[in-house]
């Protein structure tokens, strides 16, 4: 049976979501997206430079991908809602990754404003996935407000440090009924695999793929790692112990005292 993730009324096959920032060029990004074939990719909205003749990023994103616009740049709920409405008006759909950040050093999310944005945008019919600090009561409120998933950070955006929030994310996975998607900070495929082994529904990766020497190969590596981790989670990871537990039989040894047993 196919293992699909129900998310926002859809069935998602690829549990690796990919962000499109920081790639050296749009063609390189396109190759990475073609290599990993994500169902969902994120984009951002920015003011245009007057007279700029740059290419349209949307032309380099495979048509099979669902676009999810992030609200990066928003410092409060109202600004996030404004960005979401602009994204909808542009024809990019109604999937929004809410990102409300006031701290420029660590880019940590403002959970309270993020929750307000979820409440506003869910009422307007958007499918919202809030990027948040992994706080259980906040995550519960996000779910109650109608978020399609919660996206706790693994480590600060672009830091490539891995799942430093592991204990808290684990609590969300156990206690929250909507999907938990780790977003931000995953630096290597093994980090993504770790999240999936823990039981995360999906992960979102951008920097680690975009700034790799070979983004397409790295995208593929992340895809494989996500699949491996998910498979291990479904297979049921055995408990770990502190002492050895022999994997070979402890009888029939080829030595004299073996018979005295």
């Amino acid at each position: 049976m196919e293992d699909l993730l129900p998310l926002g009324g859809r069935k998602i096959k690829n549990r690796l979501l990919i962000g499109t920032g920081k790639f050296a060029s749009y063609p390189l990004m396109q190759k990475a997206l073609e290599a990993a074939q994500p169902d969902i990719v994120t984009v951002a909205l920015r003011r245009v430079d007057a007279g700029s003749k740059t290419d349209n990023i949307l032309d380099f994103i495979p048509k099979s991908c669902l676009l999810m616009t992030n609200t990066s740049g928003a410092r409060n709920a109202d600004e996030a809602a404004r960005i979401a409405r602009l994204a909808k008006a542009s024809g990019a759909g109604t999937w929004i990754k809410i990102e409300v950040v006031q701290d420029n050093k660590y880019l940590l999310p403002d959970n309270l404003e993020t929750l307000k944005a979820v409440e506003i945008l869910v009422k307007e019919g958007f499918t919202v996935l809030p990027y948040m600090s992994p706080d259980l009561s906040m995550a519960k409120r996000m779910a109650e407000a109608g978020a399609a998933a919660v996206m706790p950070l693994g480590a600060p955006i672009g830091s490539n440090r891995g799942v430093k929030t592991r204990e808290l994310v684990n609590i969300l996975i156990r206690e929250i009924k909507i999907p938990v998607i780790v977003d931000a900070g995953l630096g290597s495929p093994s980090d993504a695999c770790e999240c999936m082994e823990m039981g995360c529904a999906a992960v979102l990766v951008n920097t680690a793929i975009a700034i790799a020497q070979d983004p397409a190969n790295m995208a593929r590596a992340f895809k494989d790692a996500v699949e491996a981790g998910r498979r291990a989670y479904l297979a049921g990871l055995p408990a770990s112990g502190t002492e050895a537990s022999a994997s070979s039989p402890l009888t029939g040894f080829l030595r004299d005292d073996a018979f005295s047993r």
Partner: protein, 66 residues
């Protein structure tokens, strides 16, 4: 007549429509979304909106982001 376009002050000599402004700035209409005084204006309505003094216009487009 003074306008604020993407946060910057600009002055124009005679009234002009949103459609004319986008054309004057050499912007590709398919790529952008336009907000006029905090109200999103659909592309089809650009010719109907004439800009007035102290109007505020935001013009945005998609870029890469995570």
């Amino acid at each position: 007549m003074n306008l604020t376009i993407n946060g910057k002050q600009e002055s124009i000599e005679k009234p002009l429509t949103l459609e004319a402004l986008v054309a004057a700035k050499n912007l590709c209409p398919e790529k952008i979304v336009v907000e006029h005084n905090l109200r999103i204006v659909a592309r089809g309505d650009w010719p109907k909106v004439t800009l007035g003094d102290k109007d505020s216009i935001e013009i945005v487009s998609f870029v890469g982001g995570g």
